[in-house]
């Protein structure tokens, strides 16, 4: 029996089954922000490989996020293509809760390149800290609307380059 269970680490470099599974998870993108993988987002809580069976526990970003079931199906489909994996179980866990601090440094950079400002701070001071403009980097930005095209985004306006932009809400 070949059993491994450790905290998820996307940088695992091994050539073993577990390494292949972890790399495959980086191919699963957020359907609403395709520049980001579920690994960048910090949604992968743990990975377990046992006798050809992969069990992945994911932390939902928002409870009502409509992308959850799409992500679940994509994880199942992608991992079934991994050599040595016969079956895949995806479970959602709520503890510890997903917060925007779980987005990786690489994920924050990819968000910015995509034109979405990464969250500036933790939730407690959300109304005080404004995100920098993802286009020109200016701090002269103002909140236009707390809500945006998806539940996890707000709308801002950059006074410097005069561009509206989206930002991830700190939660």
């Amino acid at each position: 029996m070949n059993r491994t269970e450790t905290e998820f680490n996307p940088r695992t470099d091994g050539q073993d089954l577990r390494g292949r599974v972890e790399r495959a998870l980086s191919d699963v993108k957020d359907p609403e922000i395709p520049a980001l993988s579920i690994v960048d987002l910090g949604m992968v809580n743990s990975v377990r490989c046992e006798d050809g069976r992969a069990t992945v526990s994911l932390t939902p970003t928002f409870l009502g996020c409509p992308a959850l079931s799409i992500i679940q199906h994509q994880v199942e489909r992608r991992l079934r293509q991994v050599e040595g994996i016969h079956s895949v179980d995806v479970e959602f866990v709520f503890t510890p809760p997903w917060t925007t601090e779980r987005i990786s440094p690489e994920g924050r950079e990819k968000l910015r390149e995509f034109g979405i400002a990464p969250p500036p701070c933790a939730l407690a001071s959300a109304h005080l800290a404004k995100p920098a403009c993802p286009y020109c980097g200016s701090e002269e930005t103002r909140l236009e609307n707390l809500f945006g095209p998806t539940a996890c985004r707000s709308l801002y306006y950059c006074e410097h380059c005069r561009q509206p932009f989206e930002a991830i809400k700190p939660v």
């Binding site: 939902p60 928002f62 409870l63 009502g64 236009e144 609307n145 809500f147 945006g148």
Partner: protein
């Protein structure tokens, strides 16, 4: 009664007498509140007075329905019922939402006032769930609080703006007096059942929640220069506030369940 139990998973509920009945009843109220208001929110889609309001209400509706789904899933774990059946197939007589939330939206001012009053209540209720003896619910409450933060912040911003004057302010005042008569329904049902706190499912009594709610609502309305109707300074729980429903809920349910009822066995 001694220390309340800690119930880490659904299977442990049976170990504590009366626990299942009380927790299922309370989960039903949480789920029905969120589903009912979430559906009302969705009715503004494409119709809100400005694009910001429209966008906000579609996201808020999605959050509320997501929270309802979370609670229905927790009930399903305990009773073996299906979440979709609970959400769509229960008749109005079995619904346990507060009557305040089933009212037709009314005008924009009334919509905002109701949401603000509910969000302030919901936050206090969720805070009293973070340390709940029913751990699966406590975990969800932590998550919901983080999302609900933005709902309340949005309602506060819009309400303060509407309250500044003119016709908007008149409409806000009218809504405050109209809704003051209905807020007692929020405090009906499980909150009146002392077993809820004895079992540690909720860590605050209805009196704690009500007095914190009245204090906060009055202070904020005064900050915005708005009147505080007597019914918001001191609440009296409406005994039948979650059990007797009006024609508005009947209409809401037939619309919400129209697709589901067309073919309850369809797979999506």
């Amino acid at each position: 009664m001694g220390m309340p139990p800690v119930v880490s998973k659904p299977a442990e509920v049976a170990l504590h007498r009366g626990y299942q009945e009380v927790v299922v009843q309370f989960l039903t109220e949480l789920a029905d509140d969120e589903l009912t208001l979430g559906h009302r929110d969705s009715e503004w889609l494409g119709l809100a007075p400005d694009i910001e309001g429209d966008i906000a209400f579609s996201s808020i509706a999605q959050d509320e329905v997501g929270h309802a789904a979370f609670c229905f899933d927790r009930i399903a774990e305990l009773t073996g019922q299906e979440a979709d059946v609970l959400a769509f197939a229960r008749p109005a007589t079995e619904r346990r939402n507060a009557r305040l939330l089933e009212r037709e939206n009314g005008d924009w001012a009334e919509t905002i006032v109701r949401h603000y009053l509910y969000d302030t209540f919901d936050r206090l209720r969720l805070q009293a769930l973070v340390e709940s003896s029913y751990r699966p619910l406590a975990e969800g409450a932590v998550k919901m609080l983080r999302e609900e933060y933005y709902h309340r912040l949005h309602m506060q911003t819009v309400l303060a703006r509407l309250g500044r004057g003119g016709e908007a302010r008149e409409r806000v005042e009218r809504a405050l007096y109209a809704l003051a008569d209905e807020v007692g329904s929020l405090f009906a049902g499980s909150l009146q059942d002392t077993r809820l706190t004895e079992l540690g499912i909720l860590t605050a009594s209805w009196e704690d929640i009500a007095s914190a709610w009245c204090e906060q609502v009055a202070a904020e309305l005064e900050d915005w220069g708005l009147p505080v109707p007597a019914g918001l300074r001191a609440v009296r729980p409406a005994e039948d506030g979650r059990t007797v429903h009006g024609a508005a809920l009947q209409r809401l349910l037939s619309e919400m369940a129209e697709v589901y009822s067309a073919d309850p066995l369809a797979t999506w």
